[in-house]
């Protein structure tokens, strides 16, 4: 038995042991934890009292931890900035010339995917999803267009940069307004609706709208830079 097969066998055994341990942990976790005094229960309790949002993850991400979301978005902006600096001399599309069949498909599918992304963003507080996921869906619609049209399609860089910077400024402005008018950053300064309807989030929906716009523009810029590689 050679070394590589022995290594593979040992890794397989380790993985099996770890999965058995995970299953055993899942079995015992419910028995070990005290019933009420966990942070999840506390957050669910507070969420049911203070906000009218059906999806509790949304209210944790944008309302209780709004500053963390701001930090994540700025980290994303920094990474896009680095990619743009590194790949700024790129001209040629990596995946060859245009493709007629894919062009027809992209003409039909592009509005549908963008519409689905907008649905995910605006219904972030009712169903799974939110700003980041919807933004990436919109960006993958643009990836489809890049693949279909080759070198003959470029989204307007000014529009992308403008929407990205405007949504970032809007996000910061929303946080500062919460600090000024309310008691803390991203405080609830709008009126709430009834639980389960579309306009029930207040500030949470605005935050997700800005995050979605920003992520969509950034991911589109990132995929454009990646797909037009430097000539190797």
């Amino acid at each position: 038995m050679n070394l590589k097969r022995t290594l593979a066998l040992s890794h397989l055994l380790t993985g099996l042991l770890v999965s058995v341990m995970i299953i055993a942990l899942l079995g015992t976790l419910r028995l070990l934890t005290p019933p009420i005094d966990t942070i999840g229960e506390t957050l669910l309790h507070i969420n049911a009292q203070s906000t009218q949002v059906a999806n509790a993850v949304t209210s944790v991400v944008t309302y209780f931890r709004g500053l963390d979301t701001l930090g994540e978005v700025s980290i994303l902006f920094l990474s896009i900035f680095g990619v743009a600096l590194h790949m700024q001399h790129s001209t040629r599309n990596l995946f060859g010339a245009h493709d007629t069949l894919l062009q027809i498909g992209a003409q039909v599918l592009f509005p549908l995917i963008v519409l689905f992304g907008v649905y995910i963003i605006t219904h972030g507080h009712l169903s799974p999803g939110g700003g980041f996921q919807g933004g990436v869906i919109i960006a993958s619609a643009f990836v489809l267009r890049f693949l279909a049209y080759g070198d003959h399609y470029e989204p307007s860089a000014r529009l992308l940069t403008l929407s990205e910077s405007l949504s970032g400024a809007g996000l910061v402005l929303l946080g500062v307004l919460g600090l000024l008018l309310g008691d803390r950053i991203f405080a609830q300064i709008l009126s709430l609706g009834t639980m389960g309807t579309l306009l029930s989030g207040g500030v949470i929906e605005l935050v997700y709208l800005f995050v979605g716009l920003k992520v969509a523009a950034e991911m589109t810029l990132l995929s454009q830079h990646f797909i037009k590689a430097r000539d190797v």
Binding site: P128, I227, V232
Partner: protein, 81 residues
Amino acid sequence: MIPFLIIATLLSLLAAAVMAIYSRDPAHSVLSYMGFGLGSTVLYLLFSAPDVALTEAVIGAGVGALVFVVALLQTQNKEQP
């Protein structure tokens, strides 16, 4: 039904991960990794975490695959002139 599905998904995730490590061609590794992402999406859903599952599905299918494929093209076309 659900615990059986969870155990089956965990075992197939294990197989996909071993395949992603031990295949010769990096393209096969990337494809196995994408299969791993698909399986872990189903796993997150079975653990009733739909937000995480949605993020994993969206990233793994669209932009993440683009980044991996571009990296493969750049490295492999550069190795053999």
